[in-house]
C-alpha cells in the first residue's frame, strides 16, 4: 500500500516538474517515418570520384579493392596515420597526396596500414600549391618522332597515375570532405570509447575477381573493355564526292577532345585539351560565315580526335581507316594533305598584357616557314588585340606531346605546326589532373587563338587578303562553350548542346571511356559519347549547305549522296542538310572486334607506332560507392549478447523459484 502511494506521488511530481525541465521535442531530433528511414540515416552515402583499374599488355595501373569484398576501415587523418595501429582509411589533402602515394609504394610496413585513401577537395587549393600533375614529365614519350633524352615538358609531373595500387582511392566532393573531416575528428576525440566511424569502399573490379591482370587475358575473358570513342572530321565547304574535278590539296586543322586524370570521372582537361577544342569550334563558326569558300583553291578539313591521351588512339586509327579506304574517310585523300595545324593548349597565353602563343613546327622546312609567315601576317592583322605569336625555342627537341606526333611518324615530310601557349614547359601546372578546370584558363586567350587560326587557315587555303578583317570570332559562343563543356552548371544541359543532342548526363567529363559493342562505321553510330555527338552535330551544322529538302524531317527524305540528318535527337525530327561530317572510330590499331569479342592482333613490325602501344583497357565493374557509418567494437556486441542470455536465464531461475514457493503454499492444504 505504501509503495503504491509512493509511486503515485512520484509520477505526480514528475508530471508537475516536466514543464520546468528543458524538455522539448525540438527540431534537433530527426523524425523517422519508417524503419527504412532509420536504416538510411545510420548509413551516410558519400559523394566520391573513384580511381579505377586500367590494364595494358604488360600489367595494370589504377586502383581496386583487393578482393571481392567491400573494404571497411576507420577514418584517420594522414597526420595521425603513423600512430594508428591496424589498417585505416586515410583522409589526405591534395598537397600531401603525392607524398602519401610515394610512401605507400616504397614502404611496405606503411602500406599495410593503408586500407583506402580519401582525397579532400577544397576551393583554395589551386592558389596554394605549385602544381599537381599525376602524369609523367614527358607524357607519351615513346610515341615522339624524336629521341626524348629526358626532356621535361611537364616538370610538375609525378607519374602517380601510371602505378598500380591494391586499395581503393576516392576523390571527395566539397560536402563529403567536411562530413568525413568531422568523422575523423570524432574518432580522434573518442579514442577510448568503443565506437568508431568507418568508411566502407565498394570498388570491386572484375579483373581482380577473375585474376586477369593484363589486357590480353582480360579481353579474352570478357572482364574488361578497350578504351576508345568516336573522333569527328568535317570539311568546309562540303566535299562533292561525285564531282569530276580534281581533288584539292588539303589544309587540316585538328585538336583533341579527351583528357585523363587520376580520377576517372573528374577529367575536365580545361586547358589541355578543351581550350583547343573550343578554339577550333569557334574557328569553324567564324569561317562558316564567309562567302566564296567553294572558290578557294585548297580544301579546309577539321578533325577532332579522341583517345589521344591513351596512346594516340584517334590519330592512329584515323590513318589506319584511311589506309583501309574505309567509308568513314570517304572523300578525304590523305595523300593530298599539304599542311597540318594543330590547336593545342591555348587557354593560358596571358603574360605582361600580351597574349603570346608559340608555334611548334616540324616537317618540310620551306613549307613550314611559309605557314609560320602566314601566322605572323594574321597576328599583324589583329594588332589591336595585343596578340603575339613566336616560333618555339630551338632548344626544344621537337614538337610537344600532341596528335601531330602521329602525323609526323606516318608522314615525316608533312608540314606541321602546333599552336600552344607555352614554349619549353607546359604553362598548365595541373596537366591531366582533376584541378585542370575552368578557373585554370581565360576565355580571351581562347578567342585570341581562334582569331589567329581562323585568319591563318583562310589565307593558307587561298583566301583574299582583303577579306581577312571580316573574319570575327564570336566571343559569346566561346563563353557559352566554356559553360557547357567545363562546368556542371549549366553543363551539357545548356541551350547550345541541347539544340543539337539530348545529353545523357549534365556534368561533362572528358575521359575517353570504353568502346561499347562493335566499333561502327555507320553514319550515326549507336554508342558515340555526348561530346562526340555534340561536336559532330555542331560541325555538320556550321559546314552545311541547305539541302533541297529544306526544313523537312529526316525520317523520309534524307538519304541522298552527301545528305546528313542533324539535330535528330534534339527535337525528334531533325533537319536534313548537305555536309561532309563523319564519325571515325578511335581505338587501338592492335585490336580487332570479331564475333562479339576483342582480339589482340600480333605485333606488326611494319607499323612502328604499334610496337609501343600499350593497348589500354578498363576493367568492368558492377557498382562503385562509398558510405560511412559508426560501428561498435565486437567485444561490446558480445557483451550485449551475454547480457541478453543472462537476463533470460536469471528470469527463468526466478520463475522456477516462484513456482516452487507457490506450489508449496498450495500443498500445505
Amino acid at each position: 500500500m505504501d509503495f503504491f502511494k509512493l509511486s503515485l506521488l512520484l509520477s505526480l511530481l514528475c508530471f508537475l516538474a516536466l514543464p520546468r525541465l528543458s524538455l522539448s521535442a525540438s527540431g534537433e531530433t530527426k523524425s523517422f517515418e519508417s524503419v527504412p528511414d532509420l536504416e538510411k540515416s545510420m548509413y551516410k552515402e558519400i559523394e566520391g570520384f573513384p580511381c579505377v583499374r586500367l590494364l595494358n599488355l604488360s600489367g595494370e595501373i589504377g586502383c581496386s579493392n583487393p578482393g571481392r569484398e567491400k573494404v571497411v576501415a576507420p577514418i584517420v587523418r594522414f597526420q595521425n596515420a603513423k600512430e594508428f595501429a591496424g589498417s585505416a582509411a586515410i583522409l589526405v589533402s591534395i598537397d600531401e597526396f603525392e607524398s602519401l602515394l610515394s610512401r605507400v609504394l616504397k614502404d611496405s610496413a606503411f602500406s599495410s596500414k593503408v586500407a583506402g585513401i580519401l582525397v579532400e577537395s577544397s576551393t583554395q587549393v589551386q592558389n596554394a600549391i605549385n602544381g599537381f600533375s599525376p602524369d609523367v614529365k614527358f607524357p607519351q614519350a615513346e610515341f615522339a618522332p624524336y629521341r626524348s633524352n629526358n626532356f621535361e615538358w611537364n616538370p610538375a609531373g609525378s607519374g602517380i597515375m601510371w602505378k598500380a595500387y591494391n586499395f581503393p582511392v576516392f576523390l571527395l566532393s566539397q560536402t563529403s570532405t567536411s562530413i568525413l573531416q568531422e568523422a575523423a575528428l570524432m574518432n580522434e576525440k573518442s579514442k577510448k570509447s568503443y565506437t568508431e566511424n568507418v568508411a566502407q569502399f565498394d570498388l570491386v573490379m572484375q579483373t581482380t575477381k577473375s585474376s586477369t591482370h593484363d589486357s590480353e587475358s582480360c579481353l579474352k575473358e570478357g572482364t574488361c573493355l578497350p578504351l576508345g570513342g568516336y573522333s569527328v572530321w568535317s570539311a568546309l565547304p562540303p566535299i562533292n564526292i561525285s564531282s569530276s574535278l580534281k581533288a584539292k590539296p588539303i589544309i587540316l586543322a585538328m585538336t583533341s577532345m579527351d583528357s585523363a586524370s587520376f580520377f576517372r570521372d573528374k577529367s575536365l582537361g580545361a586547358e589541355s585539351p578543351i581550350s583547343g577544342l573550343i578554339a577550333l569550334l569557334a574557328v569553324v563558326d567564324a569561317l562558316s560565315h564567309l562567302d566564296g569558300l567553294e572558290e578557294l583553291n585548297k580544301q579546309l578539313v577539321f578533325v577532332v580526335l579522341t583517345g589521344e591521351s591513351w596512346g594516340y588512339l584517334g590519330s592512329r586509327r584515323f590513318f589506319l581507316e584511311s589506309d583501309k579506304q574505309s567509308d568513314t574517310i570517304k572523300g578525304l585523300d590523305l595523300a593530298m594533305l599539304e599542311t597540318v595545324i594543330e590547336i593545342g593548349s591555348v587557354g593560358k597565353s596571358f603574360s605582361e598584357g600580351n597574349k603570346t602563343f608559340f608555334a611548334h613546327t616540324a616537317g618540310a622546312t620551306s613549307s613550314v616557314n611559309g605557314t609560320f609567315n602566314v601566322l605572323q601576317h594574321a597576328q599583324d592583322s589583329l594588332i589591336t588585340e595585343s596578340i603575339m605569336v613566336k616560333r618555339a625555342s630551338t632548344t626544344n627537341p621537337g614538337v610537344p606531346p600532341s596528335s601531330l606526333m602521329t602525323f609526323l611518324r606516318k608522314k615525316p615530310q608533312i608540314s606541321g605546326l602546333v599552336l600552344e601557349d607555352f614554349d619549353s614547359t607546359f604553362s598548365n601546372k595541373f596537366y591531366h589532373s582533376h584541378l585542370d578546370e575552368l578557373s585554370n584558363i581565360s576565355p580571351s586567350s581562347i578567342v585570341a587563338a581562334a582569331s589567329l587560326v581562323a585568319r591563318t587557315l583562310y589565307i593558307l587555303a587561298g583566301g583574299k587578303d582583303s577579306a581577312i578583317n571580316t573574319i570575327k570570332v564570336n566571343a559569346s559562343l566561346v563563353e557559352e562553350l566554356l559553360g557547357c563543356l567545363l562546368a556542371c552548371e549549366p553543363g551539357l544541359s545548356c541551350g547550345l548542346v541541347k539544340h543539337y543532342i539530348s545529353p545523357s548526363t549534365t556534368c561533362p567529363s572528358h575521359y575517353v571511356g570504353v568502346i561499347l559493342g562493335e566499333p561502327s562505321a555507320a553514319l550515326y553510330p549507336a554508342y558515340a559519347g555526348d561530346v562526340s555527338r555534340f561536336v559532330w552535330n555542331f560541325l555538320a551544322d556550321k559546314t552545311s549547305i541547305s539541302s533541297k529538302n529544306i526544313g523537312s524531317s529526316c525520317a523520309k527524305a534524307c538519304s541522298g549522296v552527301g545528305e546528313l540528318c542533324i539535330r535528330g535527337e534534339a527535337d525528334g525530327k531533325g533537319v536534313c542538310v548537305i555536309s561532309t561530317t563523319r564519325y571515325v572510330p578511335a581505338y587501338s590499331t592492335r585490336l580487332r572486334y570479331e564475333s562479339g569479342s576483342w582480339i589482340v592482333l600480333p605485333n606488326n613490325s611494319s607499323d612502328n607506332m604499334d610496337v609501343d602501344d600499350p593497348v589500354w583497357t578498363e576493367s568492368n565493374w558492377d557498382t562503385i560507392n562509398i558510405r560511412t557509418y559508426r560501428v561498435q567494437n565486437s567485444t561490446y556486441d558480445r557483451l550485449i549478447l551475454l547480457l541478453g542470455i543472462v537476463v533470460t536465464l536469471l528470469a527463468y531461475i526466478l520463475i522456477e523459484i516462484a513456482k516452487s514457493v507457490i506450489s508449496k503454499a498450495m500443498k500445505q492444504e
Partner: protein
C-alpha cells in the same frame, strides 16, 4: 552492430517472456491459446491507436505536451480495453465452471485463474515489446550502430530493449493484479494497473530531454519492481487466505 548484438537486444526485451513461457505457459494448452489471443488483441489495439494518431504526427510544435496527450489517450483506451477483457474473461469463467460441473470435474482453482491472468498480461507485454522494440530491431543486425543525440552514451537499440523489458514486466504482472482486484472488489488493486501504466508512460517523456534517459530508465525499472512486488504480495495474501479458509478456489 552485427547478428550477435541483434540477438542480444531481442533476448533482452523478450528473453524473460520466453522463460515465463517455457516454465509456466507451455505446460497448459489453454494458457498458450490465451497468450496468443491476448497478444493479438493488444497488438490490434496498438495498431488502431497508431492509425488514429497517424494524422497528427509528426508534431509541428517543439513542446512536450502533445506527447503527454498522446500517452494519456492511449493509456486510457488500453485500460478501457483491459476492463472489457475482464468482462469477457468473467463470461468465459462462468462457461468453464458450468461445463466442469456438468462433467463432474473440478472447477478452476485460484492458481488457474491467476495463471490465465498471467497469460493475458504476458500477451499485453509481448505485444508492447514487438510493437515498440522488435519492429525497429532489423537495422541492429547490420554492421552500423546508432546513437540518439539526446542519449549519446547508450546505443539507441539498447535503450529501446531496456524500456521494452520494463514494460513487459509491468504489463504481465499488472494484469494479474487487475483481474484479482476485479474479482475481489478491491479498489486499490483495481486502480493499480491504470495508475502504474499511466505513470510509466509519463516517465518515458523524461527521455525527451537531453541526457534524460539516464534518469528515465532507472525510474521506469522502479515502477517495474513495484509492480512485481505488489503482485507477489497479492498472490501470497490470496493463497494464504484461501489456505486458512480451506478454499482452493
Amino acid at each position: 552492430m552485427t547478428v550477435a548484438a541483434g540477438i542480444g537486444y531481442a533476448l533482452l526485451a523478450l528473453g524473460p517472456s520466453l522463460s515465463l513461457f517455457t516454465a509456466v505457459i507451455s505446460h497448459k494448452p489453454f494458457l498458450i491459446l490465451t497468450l496468443l489471443s491476448s497478444t493479438l488483441v493488444w497488438l490490434m489495439s496498438l495498431i488502431a491507436l497508431s492509425a488514429v494518431w497517424r494524422g497528427f504526427i509528426p508534431f509541428k510544435t517543439a513542446a512536450w505536451w502533445p506527447y503527454a496527450l498522446l500517452i494519456l489517450t492511449s493509456v486510457a483506451s488500453q485500460e478501457a480495453l483491459r476492463f472489457f477483457l475482464w468482462r469477457l474473461y468473467k463470461r468465459m469463467e462462468e462457461l468453464l465452471d458450468a461445463f466442469a460441473d456438468r462433467v463432474s470435474k473440478p472447477r478452476l482453482l485460484i492458481t488457474d485463474k491467476m495463471q490465465i491472468a498471467l497469460a493475458g498480461g504476458m500477451g499485453h507485454g509481448v505485444a508492447h515489446a514487438v510493437f515498440f522494440c522488435i519492429s525497429l530491431l532489423t537495422p541492429a543486425f547490420g554492421p552500423a550502430t546508432y546513437y540518439v543525440e539526446k542519449c549519446s552514451r547508450i546505443p539507441f537499440f539498447l535503450v529501446s530493449a531496456m524500456i521494452a523489458l520494463a514494460f513487459v514486466t509491468i504489463h504481465t504482472f499488472s494484469m494479474v493484479i487487475a483481474f484479482s482486484g476485479y474479482s475481489e472488489g478491491n479498489r486499490t488493486d483495481q486502480y493499480f494497473a491504470p495508475v502504474v501504466h499511466l505513470a510509466a508512460g509519463v516517465l518515458t517523456l523524461i527521455n525527451l530531454g537531453s541526457g534524460g534517459c539516464i534518469i528515465g530508465i532507472p525510474l521506469l525499472y522502479g515502477m517495474a519492481m513495484l509492480t512485481l512486488l505488489h503482485c507477489g504480495k497479492l498472490v501470497w495474501r490470496r493463497l494464504t487466505e484461501n489456505r486458512r479458509q480451506g478454499n482452493l478456489y
